[in-house]
């Protein structure tokens, strides 16, 4: 029902020459993680780590990926979040 936009993902991986990629999906798209993993591996050879946890929004970026040597995080279902200090 929602476009994966895999071509954009593959293009970015090649552009930044990422060797290890973490993919973060909203719950509704998580069943397609294998499809994404296979496409990335086949087209770019990059190692794919699938984020198991939450994806509440662009405010909810996984922490600690640098320590695992992740070069690129691809997060589906959101657009850049313009954080404001305090609310609103």
């Amino acid at each position: 029902m929602y476009k994966l936009e895999l071509e954009k993902a593959l293009e970015k991986i090649k552009e930044v020459n990422a060797k290890t990629v973490c993919i973060q999906l909203p719950d509704g798209m998580k069943p397609r993680a294998n499809e994404i993993e296979e496409a990335i591996k086949k087209d770019t050879g990059a190692k794919v780590l699938i984020w198991l946890g939450s994806n509440f929004g662009a405010c909810d970026i996984p922490l600690g990926l640098d320590r695992l040597g992740v070069d690129l995080l691809i997060s589906w279902g959101h657009v850049k979040f313009c954080k404001t200090e305090g609310w609103p």
Binding site: K3, G57, C59, L72, L73, S75, W76, H78, K83
Partner: protein, 241 residues
């Protein structure tokens, strides 16, 4: 590490419910506050064309990238010009509920009409959130009389609000504030700190409303903690009980 966001746009054509136009006309809703979640933004111009008989009020609300984009956390400061109703294009209840919650401090609530992209409309009523708003008001009152406050801060970079939360100490010098750090809020850990009278949430504001049940001692959002007295005394839907 670099980050790429992919918006996952809706792959089919958005349909409007065949009853929507008549419903808007019959209710004399002329000025529509138009919102959509990011998956539907790329088709919004076509939607506007279908609604050309109406005055569409669009605005860019906090934290978003685009005009008319709605986030689930847009429960404060919608600052939308006078509208007759809100029209949300998208699926699910999470996002449009922000439009209901965002009106809790108004005297009257404007109707929130949701048009599912498959062409089914529904009206979001406040009935579903009445209990949580009632509890929220109770928590606001409890906060006011509480001595020991637990301030929950998330380490998620997009949500972390540690510095703004320190303003609570100046605002309420008679209260003792304890600061708790977490990634996702561990609800099952809250009872391990029985000395806390009321919690203040500084993470996603939806936690303060949607997860009231998870906080036995009550929780309010940081924004509301800073203006608790005003919120409890002004004429508003929240205070109508």
């Amino acid at each position: 590490m670099k980050t790429l966001f992919l918006e996952a746009p809706y792959e089919k054509k958005i349909k409007l419910d065949s009853k929507l136009i008549d419903y808007l006309k019959n209710n004399k809703f002329q000025r529509l506050g138009l919102f959509a979640s990011i998956q539907f933004m790329d088709q919004l111009e076509q939607v506007k064309e279908l609604l050309k008989d109406f005055t569409l009020i669009t605005t860019k609300v906090p934290r978003t990238m685009h005009e008319s984009q709605l986030l689930g956390c847009n429960t404060y400061a919608l600052n939308v010009e006078e509208v007759d109703c809100y029209l949300y294009i998208g699926d699910g209840n999470f996002h449009p509920l922000a439009l209901v919650l965002g009106q809790k401090d108004n005297k009257e609530l404007k109707e929130v009409i949701c048009n599912d992209p498959r062409g089914e409309m529904k009206i979001l009523t406040v009935a579903g959130i009445k209990t949580s708003l009632k509890k929220y008001r109770g928590s606001l009152m409890k906060f006011f009389t509480s001595k020991n406050i637990g301030v929950i801060i998330t380490i998620k970079p997009g949500q972390e609000q540690f510095r703004p939360s320190l303003a609570l100490e100046n605002k309420y010098p008679d209260k003792k504030f304890y600061y708790f750090i977490d990634n996702n809020i561990s609800f099952n850990q809250l009872e391990n700190f029985p000395f806390i009278d009321t919690w203040v949430n500084t993470a996603c504001p939806r936690i303060g409303f949607d997860d009231q049940e998870m906080f036995r001692r009550g929780v309010i959002n940081l924004t509301d903690a800073m203006i608790a007295e005003k919120l409890l005394t002004q004429e508003s839907y929240l205070n109508q009980g």
